[in-house]
Symmetry: C2
């Protein structure tokens, strides 16, 4: 079976030996504090980790709030920002777990079309004029699931709308550092006009998912509020994980691993794009320059469930693309949305999987 | 200043060197899987840790669900069990953070008087006859904040009521193993008549708070539900922390540390009881045989805030006892409730603190 399914880093993307070596050094020097409760009282995270994350992002430590993974950050943010009856606008498609979190907190989640160069900001402008949301949630870089990156002018227009209509923008940037070619746009936080952007980040894709280190970059007042909320839910993230994350950043391991990932992934991305174009035609949703995902709008004769069953019968496991569309929004008529993660596959395997899919629509 | 405040283990109660040694062995043998995502799909915890916790409690691994600390377990349980308008009965006084969690999930939290030998089960019987709760929350062993342990007949009556009226009992047992004298009663889970008891445990007080390992022991169906819920909030607890916890249990470190804690704490408890009786008279709420807390109903001339300020002026820091009383319930008239944690103090320091308090009521 060829698996075009979960978006997790392949084994070779995690610098296990180097993390282990630094973990041993953390144990040598900091063991006394790691197995005790951290000091509480609106605890926003290990001071070393907050300082290192701030340096990594060119901001101040007091703007960093550390969580048990970035999903937990979204959960706490939703708890803080969503009130009964609130609307939240998201990209359609978007990260399904985020939608579930916002809905669990009582939000009405509305999908805004995603184009090849990012959120349809003109459509968003009409929506916010009619109903100001609790927040807009976006993954502006190498989006999950689509692989789309938001272009510069849309970024500027989004933060302008946020300032005009006074809503929060949550930018979730787990893949931002994973740019294999081209030049990065400014982040939404860098363009922020009115302290409206809250950034959610993670060490899962640039260092290690097992450390379970997510974080929020926000106004210090919001950091303090989130810290109070977190203390009432789980007291604190693991001191050991945080110390390991801090050490890996301080020693440059995250930075060198990102460089390694660029070398590892660039040929995979390039080969994957070629394989799709050659075997499926010009149906890519976008031509990503990084991240984990290629996506296509695949013309199919039957429905999605039938296609996925047919694909499995020829040895290809796919994720149900419709699951990424909130609130009844849909891919273009006559097509299904397929996410094709390329990060964990050698070019030959990826091409073979695409070949099998091609055989189904021939 | 003498601090009768936080209930955290003293440094000498955490076997830091031994945990560090076992952590190094975990890194030697399991590093490959520790820094990756654990397998998901209703992930209830690391299989080794579930098996070791099950053995520790004499139950089956499929009944174990691992969380980021036991507060997170209470949060997920409340999310599962509480529906709008539900009542939850708790001991008065009880653990304040638990009350906050239940209220955040929409429960109306009602305090039931706590006696020297546990929850007033007769009062509870009247309450449940009038209004069946979503659940009853109890800390039956060396309760936080009171130090009270529920006696056998009350335990039997509580599980009988749960079976008759078909409500869940959450027994939170962080201190249960910390018995320094006397004989343990059966746990509520052991007495359970009708699969109504859910146990919440933690490695924080028997091994290390920094590992942030809490757990639930429950019916496998509930474990699966909680796992699905947790996956949508934080994906999984730290694989490394879980592997360390599993290794410490497998190597007998938790068990030997509990034995060490008994030797460490027994004289502290005994001296603390003596100090209170000699200097404050017969005002102990209970004569605990374990745990962290002595408590008193202290007769005061003024109100609690005045007394706490007076205490601080003579060098004693206290926790506000009224904060442990939910829903307007109160300690006996003319008294304030004082929690006096003895676990982190040498007998001389504890006695000196009690002496300063005695000087205020002389």
């Amino acid at each position: 079976m060829i698996h075009f399914s979960r978006g997790i880093p392949p084994r070779e993307a995690i610098p296990t030996e180097a993390i282990t070596r630094l973990t041993r050094r953390v144990l040598d020097t900091e063991a006394d504090r790691l197995f005790q409760y951290p000091p509480i009282g609106k605890y926003a995270g290990d001071p070393d980790l907050r300082r290192e994350l701030a340096a990594f992002h060119g901001t101040e430590a007091e703007r960093i709030f550390v969580t048990n993974g970035s999903l937990q950050a979204l959960d706490l943010l939703a708890g803080h920002l969503v009130h009964p009856g609130d609307v939240v606008y998201v990209e359609a498609p978007t990260y399904d777990r985020a939608v579930q979190i916002f809905e669990r907190h009582g939000a009405k989640v509305v999908g805004v079309p995603l184009e090849h160069d990012g959120l349809d900001v003109a459509a968003l402008a009409q929506l916010v004029a009619a109903h100001v949301p609790a927040f807009v949630y976006t993954i502006p870089d190498f989006q999950n699931p689509s692989g789309v990156t938001m272009n510069d002018s849309k970024r500027r227009e989004l933060v302008r709308l946020a300032a005009e209509y006074e809503f929060t923008v949550i930018e979730d940037i787990p893949y931002r550092e994973l740019r294999y070619t081209g030049t990065a746009s400014a982040s939404l936080a860098e363009l922020d006009l009115d302290n409206r952007v809250v950034t959610v980040g993670s060490l899962s894709k640039v260092l290690s998912p097992g450390l379970r280190i997510g974080y929020v970059i926000a106004d210090p007042a919001l950091v303090t509020d989130l810290a109070g909320q977190a203390e009432g839910v789980y007291l604190s993230p693991s001191p050991l994980s945080q110390a390991i994350g801090a050490r890996c950043l301080a020693e440059g391991l995250v930075q060198s691993n990102v460089a390694d990932l660029r070398r590892l992934m660039a040929p995979r991305l390039s080969a994957a794009v070629d394989a799709v174009r050659e075997q499926l035609g010009e149906i890519l949703v976008a031509a990503p320059e990084g991240g984990y995902y290629l996506t296509v709008h695949l013309p199919v004769a039957n429905d999605e469930a039938t296609f996925l069953a047919d694909a499995r019968a020829v040895g290809v496991v796919l994720t149900r693309g419709s699951a990424f569309y909130p609130d009844g929004s849909m891919p273009p008529q006559g097509t299904i949305f397929l996410r094709l993660p390329f990060q964990a596959m050698e070019p030959e395997e990826f091409a073979a999987g695409i070949g099998r899919l091609a055989s189904l629509i021939a």
